[in-house]
Symmetry: D2
């Protein structure tokens, strides 16, 4: 068993990326994720990688576009407003069928907002990636270890599906310090993918990376390829965890930092006589609809807990399709609910 080191979520994201094969980083500073670029600026050059601070988030995502086109394993990280600025670039990368990894350490919004934890970029992550029919494959870690693991895995996943992968965490996970088992750093594959364009004067067949398809049928073909990859991803990459009572009365759905609060709440509610089960989606797109649906048919009610005002709940309701009542407990702007409040709500639901 590997040794475990005490590090923050930001450090886990940075080191996880390097361990996973990331060798190019482009970004622009924003709290609460500045430790990631700082870490990358120190450690990437040590291993022959490239760290480049862009002049804006718009620039950063377009640098990612260029680097990824050459087959480089590249990442950018930001927080909510910075991710909004990357929407056009993400759409370009999806249209060009290019992989990349983007981390969003969500802060309270909208606008400048604040630097408190939030989950209000759920749609931006799962329905976002700008205009057109593309989406980001989205994973939501809930611990420092999971940030490390998922960020590392994100690179080969992005390559496999030739699509941006977003890691969606928040301001608390970014700065939280926990023990984390580190793997050996993996080098990205020597051989470039067949679609990559050459760098400099490398002699290879000419590839073209492009998101412009004047002919609608050609453009539709790209879209259908993209959607097919999403279906494949739904088969291979759907992830979740379950926790709590085996014959629950109440099903709680929560992801990321909210799910940590709900773990406690679910235990307490069960102890208090309301058997409760927690489903925590790890992949938000693809979404673990089936398991939620299955459990929803066996419980009295579903409670969705999110640090936003009705975003995540839509995916739950789409999964359940009225099979049982769904209620939402949401906070906004950086406010968090306590385990007590969630417990109370669960118990109330059971009795209501």
């Amino acid at each position: 068993m590997p040794e475990r080191t005490l590090i923050t979520g930001n450090e886990a994201a940075a080191e996880g990326a390097i361990a996973g094969g990331c060798r190019y980083f482009f970004g622009y500073p924003i709290t609460p994720q500045n430790k990631i670029p700082e870490y990358m600026s120190e450690h990437l050059p040590e291993i022959g990688g490239v760290y480049l601070q862009a002049e804006s988030e718009v620039a950063a995502i377009n640098m990612l576009y260029g680097a990824s086109a050459t087959g480089a394993w590249a990442m950018t990280t930001s927080s909510s407003p910075g991710i909004s600025l990357m929407q056009e670039g993400l759409s370009f990368m999806i249209g060009a069928e290019l992989p990349c990894v983007v981390i969003n350490m969500v802060r309270g919004g909208p606008g400048l907002g604040n630097i408190a934890p939030a989950q209000s970029d759920y749609w931006l992550a799962t329905r976002g990636a700008g205009h057109g029919d593309g989406r980001c494959l989205t994973f939501a870690p809930f611990s420092v270890q999971e940030i490390y693991d998922l960020t590392g895995e994100a690179f080969p996943i992005a390559q496999k599906y030739r699509n941006p992968v977003m890691i969606l965490a928040d301001a608390i996970l970014a700065s939280m310090r926990e023990p984390c088992a580190l793997r050996e750093r993996r080098e990205p594959p020597e051989e470039k993918p067949p679609w990559a364009i050459g760098r400099g004067r490398e002699s290879r067949e000419r590839n073209i990376i492009n998101s412009l398809w004047i002919d609608p049928l050609a453009m539709e073909a790209v879209n259908l390829r993209v959607q097919q990859r999403y279906e494949e991803a739904a088969k291979n990459e759907t992830r979740w965890t379950e926790h709590g009572a085996d014959t629950p009365e109440i099903l709680v759905c929560a992801y990321g930092i909210s799910a940590r609060i709900c773990q406690t709440a679910v235990e307490r509610a069960t102890e208090a006589g309301v058997p409760t089960r927690l489903i925590r989606p790890i992949s938000l797109f693809p979404f673990p609809s089936q398991v939620i649906r299955d459990w929803a048919e066996r419980v009295k009610k579903v409670l969705v807990v999110e640090l936003s005002l009705g975003q995540f709940v839509e995916d739950v309701r789409l999964a359940i399709e009225g099979a049982c009542p769904v209620e939402i407990m949401g906070r906004a702007g950086g406010v968090m609910m306590t385990p007590e409040e969630v417990t109370e709500r669960i118990v109330g639901l059971a009795r209501g």
Copy 2:
């Protein structure tokens, strides 16, 4: 009855805006909506308005932010990639509780895509507005007259709810020429709203326009105010039309340009012995969920027709919640379905 003029959708958008009180326009050119800025650049100065071509879409939306803060009635227009670039700015305006009007003449995507018609920015419009819990109030016209009318109405609606309003159309509606009844141009109200900041040395009480709220509870209060306005809007601004058989077997849901195709298809299917009804949402957010739900309970199946690959259908499914089966007929990248194809699908569904 006012005379009717033969104009394009772009001209209707521009003249509709002026008639509705728009006096400030900021934008950056992109096909298929360039006739709007061209029209504004010619006609706004004639009536003392301001037309300013920005150096980018990021700049345009931030100019809108500034103008709107002073109480000006302002608009920008673009097409898909340009709207992606405005996501941060829209979030800032929502956080600052500022009105504005944005027109998106959607083109094929993702990425550069093409300049053919598409509806693949449905999420960008209804779930978009960048990070945080804000959304754009969204209206989807399906004729030149409706572009004219809705764009004009969008200005007082934006002011009333202190929120961006998006008019979502597409490349065909933008260039289609139809007769349109023009109203007299309305001046924006002389009196500035109480929240507006002064321009220059105007003497008035000091207001602060801001989207930064370090205290999460203060930030949450803004969010709750914003959500409350959305609920109000759901009561007052939900719009749709219905068309076709009164005792339908099949319910078709479509909006915008797709709904024009479906009108014909619904008639033909009914004639072919499959009574069919079309519900066309005009407001996409707020969404006419109740009426869709009501009809869904009375039909055999629901067919959702959209020029995208599964976006609009989610709102329909959220409305119906499993009350009856929902199928989707979608095309991507600028490809359109024909009335014949839709008719055939309806008939197939009825028999299937």
Copy 3:
């Protein structure tokens, strides 16, 4: 005689511009000239003019380029680093034979420097205007009244010679408050110059504004036209004042704020038994070479006083061509010499 008002140099520059016919202002803030844009932002809109804050000095000069091409009477103002950023744009305007007015309230340099008075942009003004053989017609006021007058006159001069005109002052003149006689505001001529391009849909013959001439002979023809205008300007616009002893032993040359110090010094030196004369060039390009040469042949020595380290002195030496010894007294970085120091130096020279 008009009434005199107590205003600062910055206000005199702004009001002088408006009185001279300026109706378009583009600029970016920098100390010590921020009162000019502030004044323009308040007063230009009152008279139907346009004030626009650019996103940078590079943007500002290019907005001037565009506005001037339509025949608009336009100005920008800045201080040293901002003027450096405008060098490319100025060269473009000269190549396109376009008029404009630029005010440089010089601050201590190089680099960020400080906000103290300096004259170290002499070359930037007289040899500057970027690459190619073009130059700015340059005028150097030495009082608030002269700032007002010269800025006003700069507009028709710029139009006459189709060339940028620079007003070169400094941080002290910018903030100094003096009585100033204001004229009535003059409207710019209604009729556009024959070379101007139309604005919007104005019907007029098509003009092309351009600084690209692939054929070297065509490009040389532009240059010869430009030089011919400089020769004309040398005949019509060369300006200076003289002060002091009629049969001087020492000739002092100084311009702008330095000349104010030298006026006192010249009087004191004369009183102290060293008859001294001051020539103060008002136009720096064209330069009053002949009068300086004439006096130089009649004196023992020439003293050049400048708030820079050997810039202005070159024009004096080019005028004198060795006819008598020339010495320089220069300070740098915002430091000023006192009248006493100059007097002492004059007396020393006479005795030396």
Copy 4:
């Protein structure tokens, strides 16, 4: 004796830079110097150097500022309009006492101009470096070999005087192909200069790189240091060549590409009975004033030949100070004089 390779001026500049120790290149493309960045993009990474294409010339010079502050040996290259855009950055580097190397392959101007050879950036090079009292040390090669040699030498010279060094050539020299003896590539010194700031977490004493000095006396001290270095450079770095008759009647002064034409003309005029001597300054700042003055006192007339309309001639006249008549033969906009025309002019001068 090293072997000689047939290369263009652009390649000589690039390889000369690498041989001289350049390891960082930042630039933005512009004809006629694009082969330099292309060469650097290919060869710098091979030896562990950094090639970065900036988003504009303003960005490029500021990247140079940052790199140089860390002690890196860095270069940018451009052509006339691009150099104009760098004026602010050059002034910042001079104010911060930072070395760098800038190559200007001058093209016809002003404005966009054309891509023909010109020398009309003489002032921009020798009086330029933006606002404040700073200047670029300037060298003007006249052959491919000299481009190679001077570019290589420019790096240690820039370091020695902590000042930008400009290599001033033109469109013909840039693309001309000549044999060139290449030296071995020299590594830049391992030890960073004592004033350099650390890169990343390097442990060293804290240095501050800054061009902001609010106290005018402190700012003047910087200026005096800078001027003192220029005086040192005048002693050590003044360079020129002489060619032609030992007891000349006519002295010709020309630099760079013009001097090549004049070499032939000087020989022909001497053969035609008018003994003529050519002085070709290699360093333009510092300028070889003394040698020009010395010869001027022994000839009948001086002819200045330049591809501009009266720039270089001023330095000649400042050197000669009326010791003999000076005439100028200049062309503009990319037009070149022929050896025949210069010969004719020399003979005419002698007889006139």
